[in-house]
């Protein structure tokens, strides 16, 4: 089972490290769903470094753990989604006003850093791993389940003291992009096999309910979901 966790293996290979830790990261086989499609041994990365990819995989699997409702975040393609998003227009700062001066402002004035999303996550992961090494002795993706959960909780509450970076702001951005990947249409690389839509009962496309809004009034809608690709 440990071998299923491809990103960990990649990092272990790169670092020449042992694989013992990986076993504890895999959810119990009995209750976990299997990945709908193989994550792909050679999932190509557009922009993320292996270290960053391993971080997003570990984070996605902690935020969205595998259980009877769905495979884990990374098995659903969340890390692949993030890689594509950060490699594209969004990652390089589309629709982000980036003229200076860049001044620190109240949170109500919104994002005020000069970093585009790609740069933001690069700096944030470096800060998170540095903090993780200081606190736990190793990078975030190498931590056992319980420590990963505790680490993310410390970031969420802002108690994790990153060097030169707000851990809370980093966590909120991490949570947002992970949930986007989990719930967006599968054309972007996440939500594989519409696992997230099946989990909640969201039917996706074509979303033409003129008759169904009457027919299913007060009743559970029982049709399987379809995605943009199913109509393309």
């Amino acid at each position: 089972m440990a071998d299923d966790n491809i990103p960990i293996r990649r990092r272990n290979f790169l670092l020449g490290a042992g694989t013992a830790v990986a076993a504890s990261l895999t959810p119990p086989a009995a209750e976990a769903q299997t990945a709908p499609t193989a994550p792909g041994d050679a999932e190509p990365l557009l922009t993320l470094t292996p270290t960053e990819h391993a971080f997003f995989v570990a984070a996605a699997d902690t935020l969205i753990p595998a259980d009877n409702l769905s495979p884990s975040g990374s098995q659903c393609g969340v890390a692949a989604f993030i890689d594509r998003q950060l490699a594209g227009a969004y990652g390089s700062g589309a629709r982000l006003y980036r003229d200076g001066p860049f001044l620190k402002g109240k949170p109500e004035l919104g994002y005020q850093l000069p970093l585009n999303p790609r740069e933001f996550f690069r700096a944030g992961i470096a800060a998170a791993n540095e903090w993780s090494r200081k606190t736990y002795g190793k990078d975030f993706d190498r931590l056992a389940d319980a420590d990963r959960e505790a680490a993310l909780q410390a970031m969420e509450s802002g108690k994790a003291e990153f060097s030169g970076f707000s851990s809370r702001m980093f966590f909120n951005a991490l949570l947002d992009i992970s949930m986007e990947g989990f719930f967006a249409d599968p054309i972007y690389g996440g939500n594989r096999d519409m696992a997230a839509w099946k989990m909640v009962g969201y039917p996706g496309l074509p979303a033409t309910y003129r008759e169904d809004i009457k027919k299913y009034f007060g009743k559970k809608y029982d049709k399987p979901p379809r995605s943009i690709a199913d109509f393309s």
Binding site: Y97, F183, F231
Partner: protein, 591 residues
Amino acid sequence: MTVTLKETDAVVIGVGWTGSILARELTKAGLNVVGLERGAKRMPRDDFTIPSVRDDLKYAVRQELFQDTQLETVSLRHSPSETALPIRRLGSFLPGTDLGGAGAHWNGMTWRWLPSDHRLRSHITERYGKNAIPDEMTIQDLPVSYDELEPYYDKFEKLCGVSGKAGNLRGKIVDGGNVFEGPRQNEYPNPPLAKSMAGTIMDTACRSLGYHPFQAPSSNASEVYTNFEGQTLGACEYCGHCERFGCEANAKASPNVCILPALLADSKFELRAHAQVKELVYDKAARKVKAVRYVDTRSGEEYEQPASIVILGAYVFNNVLLMLTAGIGEPYDYKTGKGAVGRNYCYQVSGNAVTVFFEDKEINPFMAAGAHGVLIDDFNGDNFDHGGLGFFGGAWIQAGPTNGRPIATRPVPPGTPRWGRDWKQATAKWYNHAFTIGASGCNYAHRENFLDLDPTYRDALGRPLIRLSYNFHDNDYKLAGYVGGVLGRVAKAMNPTVMSTPSVKKGDYSVVPYQSTHNTGGTITGTDPKTSVVNRYLQSWDADNLFVMGASVFPQNASYNPTGLVGALAYWSANAIVTQYLKSPGPLVHA
């Protein structure tokens, strides 16, 4: 080098709702009209098609259809003593761009102001005394009465094929409609939309409390409808992709569906897309705007378009920016209260919400339209006695999902973590069993809320950004607190399995969470040139051939989504131009 073009009869800046209406009415009157649109020529049959129109990430999250803040944005400070910072990413509000403007991706709530909203200062003074309004609350009357505007509201509703039920038909109060509305001469063009489960629960709960529920007046056509321009709207599919999206069914009224096909077929109209207006050429001595300078964003070429009539139909911020940079009128000074341009910037007191969860009810939130809720107006405007309450105004209160798109819409009971195993279990359990009751509150003008030019930050054309000095004040917090109490009562009357604590507005205005694209004021209409920018016909006091459209003319903001009044005032102003101004160009009101 600027290329000077041949003079035209009228130039329209911004081809959204108001630009389309004015261009249509002026070409019908025989004028040649040039429409300058900064964005692309967007038409539904190319741009809004299945399957890509259902892309939640692209449209709702990555904001595909909105103004590109990389090029143009605004800055904000909470009080004049602070340094404003630019809004680097859109959140709180979402101005549109491209042909049709935000009219292509709104939700479709189409309201009339209450008769008392039209004469707010007079009404409050009459009912609560001449000292009732605090000094800092700089509210004014809208100088057009409800009765005068009624035919124009009616016309805009017929353009859009609004679905709804009258609550006051020629003075007769009708149960099931909004019994608080002003008298309307005609029933809505279309019957109300199909009821949702959430709306039905809301209806029952409100009736049990003695309130007066009704279905939202909606520019999502409940039936196929052909308007007086010969344009046909499709019937709403309840697709749950309305606000932030274009409509593939052509059921959501937009300039693109309701009016532009007719306008673009008229040889008297010339659309120039990718034409970004940079400045107005103002002749102060002649009190005219002689021309409009714009940049063709495809070539960088700069043009000067002379025109006899100039219609300013951009969004609120660009309307104010173009007036201020041209030096038309006196900029507002909050210290002295003098000057009018930038005065009375208002927004919306929203964010009051309570989420209700029903273990045994299937809500199907994804079967929804943009304006699909069941509402009450019992606590709106001055529909209830404000004696002793310490605030004025109120809110409409609504239940009914607009969508079930799960990137953003997946309510969980209070106390649920935001991630992890428990979050997953709760999300799966409650996704189809919950909805939110929300409110949209009046925002009355405050002396220290205004618009001016930012001294530091600039847009891609090198112009200063518009700077918002804006925060919520005492009246807003009290109003929200009162409305929060009503929300709690309504939620309890639904007898839900679980409910959240009604949120209470506190702290400073934040640009981060979406609230509404209901920015108003800055070029307000009034009877006195000292405290208003345009007269009752939306004609500039300082340039008689300049007419300013849109919510920037609202003296303050009622609780209602602004498009109904924006459309009615556009027809009202167009009528004045055609029947009065063309015969005798000059000031239509002598102050």
